[in-house]
């Protein structure tokens, strides 16, 4: 619940940062409202502060990824964790981007286009995806023998559907396109904060949700992620992103960020998120613990 309040506050904080940011000895990391980029921010923080002279400042709960991109571009932020599917979010002209659900192709496009247009360094995947999935309660799935999204069709007319604030309106991979791809719609579809989406399932106000693939609530609430049998959802491979000019100034940062590529798989990340979201532990503490376990810091 606090997160909702924070996201409003974060908008204000962003405004402040543009006024007082730009300290040469500070690396600014920004995160969205969910937990995996927050954990990544603390992992990067731990490494940078361990291996360099830099201070790290983390701004959390920025409500949408386009705001992160703008902030990095304007040098208010330096580093963020972004997802390859971001490339389809209206940043580029339609004729430059080719919509695809192929993991490799999507990542390559993101790396190329953000490099060309924003002068960003978009690293290879950290090793996990955090993509949209369609999830229902396991009990319901078992009772009705539902394995794939297509299997939902007979029941869709009675199912209450919840998703995040933007999915309803997303063009390529949103609800509209979903209806075209799968040929059915739900009884009632509403957009809300991600945390509330899970609360909605728990309090039996929602039947179907767009869970993010690493969310530990999938386990906690005993949800079943349905197979995307029409290969509809695009990949959202997580990568660290920064500006090229920052790396030119300090190759040390590039070393640190590169070292993380391919090191965290989905299972690991889900476990870390579980510690934070379900066991209510501090994000920084969990990140620190991870780094120690991996022997990356003392």
């Amino acid at each position: 619940m606090k997160k909702i309040i924070f996201s409003a506050v974060a908008v204000l904080v962003l405004g402040f940062m543009s006024a007082c940011g730009g300290d040469d000895n500070t690396i600014e990391i920004g995160t969205q409202t969910y937990t995996d980029p927050k954990l990544m921010a603390h992992i990067v923080e731990g490494l940078i502060e361990d291996q360099t002279e830099y201070e790290v400042n983390i701004t959390k709960d920025i409500s949408a990824s386009p705001q992160l991109i703008t902030s990095i571009d304007q040098e208010e932020l330096d580093i963020a964790t972004l997802y390859s599917g971001e490339v389809y979010n209206n940043h580029f002209d339609e004729d430059e981007v080719e919509y695809s659900t192929d993991t490799e192709k999507t990542l390559t496009q993101a790396q190329q286009l953000f490099n060309e247009h924003f002068d960003f360094k978009w690293y290879d995947s950290l090793g996990f995806q955090n993509k949209y999935t369609i999830a229902i309660e396991n009990e319901f799935a078992e009772a009705n023998n539902i394995e794939t999204i297509s299997d939902l069709e007979p029941y869709a007319g009675e199912l209450r559907f919840g998703t995040d604030g933007s999915w309803l309106e997303r063009s390529n991979d949103g609800y509209r396109a979903f209806q075209e791809a799968y040929g059915f719609e739900f009884a009632d579809a509403r957009g809300l904060q991600i945390e509330l989406m899970y609360e909605g399932v728990e309090s039996d106000e929602l039947d179907v949700i767009t869970a993010y693939s690493v969310d530990p609530q999938i386990l906690e609430l005993d949800l079943k992620v349905l197979e995307d049998d029409k290969n509809f959802f695009p990949p959202y491979s997580a990568s660290l992103v920064t500006r090229n000019n920052l790396l030119e100034d300090d190759p040390q940062i590039d070393e640190i960020l590169s070292s993380l590529v391919g090191t965290i798989d989905e299972e690991t990340m889900t476990q870390l998120i579980y510690e934070v979201d379900i066991n209510e532990r501090d994000e920084q503490e969990v990140a620190q613990e991870y780094l120690q376990e991996q022997g990356l810091i003392e």
Binding site: M1, I4, I5, A8, S63, A64, S65, P66, Q67, N89, N90, H91, G162, D164, G165, S166, W167, L168, E169, R170, S171, G174, R190, G191, L192, Q193, L196, E199, G200, S203, E205, L206
Partner: protein
């Protein structure tokens, strides 16, 4: 020019969903204000009828506290009680509407010249006739302007209710922010502005109509 063409196309494509967002917004706002008026106006009148300072203070302080809770926090507080969707949004906005409505109604009735009340009493108006025929008509401009201000505020505040699944024009703005769609952000914002202006305008007309010279 190209942008304008694109925007027209956006409307052609999206107008059913834009209208639905608009309708949700209007519905949540109006229901909140109507419920607020149904409670706050009679309560405001009642407060002018009682002597107890304590009850007055408590009522004003409680409604004042509702007013000072940040919108997003009040919405969040509603969820454990009422779940997600329109219900908690309506309740939260209803709580917001109470203070301005209560205050204006109270001030309106209090503003009636005591001499006018004395003479109404003296020539034989019963208490209820006095209220209905003298005090409420004289307080009406105050009550109406309270209703007008509150409606405009509530329409504006209702945009934030989208975070708890109440839909409305805030939903368009949040979705637009989420994947960088400026048309969505712009449309959600401008529709909310237009709705507030229309409400203000219509109630302004009504206010003038019922006001005496």
């Amino acid at each position: 020019m190209e942008v304008l063409m694109d925007y027209i196309e956006f409307w052609q494509e999206r107008y059913p969903s834009i209208l639905e967002y608009t309708w949700q917004h209007l519905f949540v706002s109006l229901v909140s204000v109507i419920l607020g008026a149904v409670l706050a106006i009679p309560l405001g009148i009642y407060l002018t009828r009682i002597k107890s300072k304590a009850i007055k203070n408590i009522t004003f302080n409680v409604t004042n506290i509702f007013q000072t809770i940040p919108t997003i926090a009040l919405l969040a507080l509603m969820i454990p009680l009422l779940g997600i969707g329109m219900k908690p949004a309506i309740v939260a906005l209803f709580l917001y509407s109470l203070l301005p409505l209560l205050r204006n109604t109270f001030a309106g009735i209090q503003s009636v010249d005591p001499e006018v009340i004395e003479s109404a009493k003296g020539i034989g108006y019963s208490p209820i006739q006095r209220l209905m025929q003298i005090e409420i008509p004289l307080a009406f401009p105050y009550i109406m302007s309270g209703l007008r201000i509150t409606t405009v505020y509530i329409i504006s505040w209702a945009t934030i209710a989208a975070v708890i699944g109440a839909g409305g024009l805030g939903g368009m703005v949040i979705a637009g922010l989420g994947f960088n769609d400026k048309f969505l952000i712009f449309t959600g914002t401008i529709m909310a502005v237009i709705m507030a202006l229309i409400a203000d305008f219509l109630m302004g007309i009504l206010e003038k109509k019922v006001a005496y010279k």
